[in-house]
């Protein structure tokens, strides 16, 4: 056939994060979750990587208006899935809960077991993480994981984009290409050379990743047309041009939208 995306703004990002003591408590509570695997990682095959507490750079004065200001904030410890959630992992969730399938779960490429699940709404993603006693990452958690503490432009540091490190798209928005070896999504454990310092994979490229944050300006200025309506995705995807393969680009989308062939997620164990 031819060819053929809401709530009050209560989640505006705080400048200072909660204390390490609270973080430790949340971690302890999460450890009592009913879905914990024997290893302590709730999602089999997708370990949680610990991120240390402390100050880090957040925001980007060289980016779009909505990425500003660049500032140093302090965050607690958290732990993030090493990889994006795969189709295989999402299928186990469906089997356990009867939740609806991902829209592209049956796609010949996008639906492969080791590829990141795509075609999920924000609510689908949140339900998955909640089932495992986890949450979607906040934008701050994403940036801390993807940029380290010094505000690096990429998970691997300051070196420029490289097809050995990122599954991205064509030079101009928004077409796919296979110069990195993949015309569409890549296996969730691919691109080891693009891993973050802590070893988290594909924080840039492969699929955009839902965060739990409502879209809002960082400076707290009101934006009545948009406040409380949209959730933010991060990281760019297999069809993104270089300007969107960024650790600071903010993609706000209707949280109900579930037909993105390039939108997925991962989870965090978070104290916030």
């Amino acid at each position: 056939m031819p060819p053929s995306a809401r709530s009050s703004l209560t989640g505006r990002v705080k400048i200072a994060w909660i204390s390490e003591a609270v973080a430790a408590l949340v971690v302890a509570l999460a450890a009592t979750g009913s879905c914990l695997a024997a290893s302590g990682d709730p999602i089999r095959g997708n370990p949680l990587i610990e991120i240390a507490p402390g100050p880090f750079v957040f925001g980007n004065d060289a980016g779009n208006d909505n990425e500003r200001p660049r500032q140093t904030v302090v965050g607690p410890a958290f732990a993030m899935n090493q990889t994006e959630i795969s189709n295989e992992q999402y299928q186990r969730f469906i089997d356990d809960t009867g939740h609806r399938s991902a829209f592209y779960g049956g796609h010949p490429f996008l639906g492969l077991g080791n590829r990141p699940v795509v075609g999920v709404s924000w609510t689908d993603a949140e339900a998955f993480c909640d089932h495992y006693g986890l949450r979607l990452p906040s934008e701050r958690e994403y940036e801390r994981a993807a940029r380290g503490v010094d505000g690096a432009p990429f998970p691997w540091g300051a070196a420029p984009l490289d097809p050995m490190r990122v599954n991205g798209g064509a030079e101009t928005c928004c077409g796919s290409d296979d110069h990195d070896g993949y015309a569409m999504t890549a296996p969730v454990d691919s691109f080891a050379e693009g891993a973050s310092r802590e070893g988290i994979l594909n924080l840039v490229g492969n699929v955009w990743e839902w965060t739990r944050d409502l879209y809002a300006r960082y400076d707290g200025a009101a934006d009545p047309q948009n406040d409380g309506k949209y959730r933010v995705l991060r990281g760019g995807a297999w069809n993104s041009d270089p300007s969107h393969l960024s650790t600071t680009y903010r993609l706000a989308y209707d949280p109900d939208f579930r037909f993105a062939a390039n939108g997925g997620f991962r989870c965090v164990r978070s104290p916030d």
Partner: protein, 342 residues
């Protein structure tokens, strides 16, 4: 202008999860439904007292008659899903030159390429007689008139003319459809500024010859905004510098036809919701007389794809959900009936 979104959808008309709808005839019509479990109907044509149709679910051609029900015939044809996850296979069929003309879609993603892919084929009851032309990307529908075959290519977004000997001439490429300013901002404020305009593919989905013109339904691509589709026409002879817009403001039109009185019939695939996709039951068949308001002939359709005008009082519609709906004019109160597959 920008033409695409950061988040993309790639399976606009996927048949997965399609549920059998509950067609409801408009005032002055009665409807009768037949259904074939598992079928993904695509092409539809009148065939004497019965119908011809194509089934993307099994790659077969089908006949239907009131006495015999559904019966597969002809050679098994390549079918499956294409690289973007949509069903592909025999898209269209009609009687032609003592046999049948079939439009075959592009190669299924898990198949080796065949000479019969993305082609217009001449077939008989048992075999593929010949490939008239495979010089297409995705031939979706055709109409044969005065010895020539007019084909819409749903990947090139073009109208092609094909001679029986296989000579293809590109007649017209449809311009992208400008979306209403600000309409996409509802989806994403970071991607779609209210001050910018955007375009989507104008995908030809239905074709009919009427008088001296060829009429084509244009289905506006992602995000499938309500009211973005249109019907255009092009003269059969001479050079077409522009398509004439016959009707705008349509919801994902997938086929066009004319009734015995010359009134235009438009089959709309339905309205698209960002959470559920094309909303079940939102497809409809409407009659458009001149510039007047559309008149509902048949509503409550789920994923309809083709229509055929059988005679003065009967119209038939088929869908990806395996239904075929017969609509008949009646002076009696509205009613509808269902009949199991035979």
């Amino acid at each position: 202008m920008r033409s695409f979104a950061r988040l993309i959808t790639i399976a606009a008309v996927s048949a997965s999860g399609v549920a059998w709808g509950a067609p409801a005839p408009g005032p002055g019509y009665v409807a009768e439904v037949v259904h074939l479990d598992g079928a993904i109907f695509s092409g539809l044509a009148e065939d004497g007292d019965g119908l011809l149709m194509t089934n993307l679910g099994d790659g077969r051609l089908y006949r239907w008659s009131a006495s015999a029900g559904f019966a597969a015939f002809g050679p098994p044809l390549s079918h499956g899903v294409d690289v973007i996850g949509d069903p592909t296979g025999p898209y269209d069929v009609a009687r032609y030159d003592g046999g049948y003309l079939v439009a075959e879609g592009w190669t299924p993603v898990d198949h080796d390429a065949l000479p019969y892919d993305h082609a217009v084929l001449a077939v008989d009851d048992d075999r593929i007689e010949r490939v008239i032309s495979s010089d297409f990307w995705n031939p979706f529908r055709f109409t044969a008139v005065d010895g020539d075959i007019y084909v819409i290519d749903a990947a090139r977004n073009s109208l092609e003319k094909l001679t029986p000997a296989g000579e293809r001439t590109s007649l017209f490429t449809f311009a992208r459809i400008r979306q209403q300013e600000g309409a996409l901002k509802r989806l994403s404020p970071t991607e779609f500024s209210g001050k910018q305009t955007y375009e989507s593919d104008a995908v030809p989905t239905g074709i009919v010859a009427h008088g001296a013109r060829i009429y084509v339904s244009l289905f506006a691509g992602f995000p499938f905004l309500a009211g973005a589709g249109k019907i255009v026409s092009i003269p059969r002879s001479g050079e077409a510098l522009a398509a004439r817009v016959e009707r705008e403001g349509l919801n994902a039109p997938v086929d066009v036809g004319f009734d015995a009185d010359g009134g235009m019939l438009v089959l709309e695939h339905g309205t698209y919701d960002q959470s559920v996709g094309f909303e079940p039951g939102s497809g409809r068949l409407i009659s458009i007389d001149g510039g007047g308001s559309p008149r509902l002939v048949l509503g409550g359709l789920t994923r309809p794809v083709s229509l055929a005008v059988l005679d003065r009082d009967r119209i038939v519609v088929c869908g990806l959900d395996g239904t075929v709906v017969f609509v008949t004019k009646s002076m009696a109160p509205q009613q509808s009936g269902e009949k199991e597959a035979q």
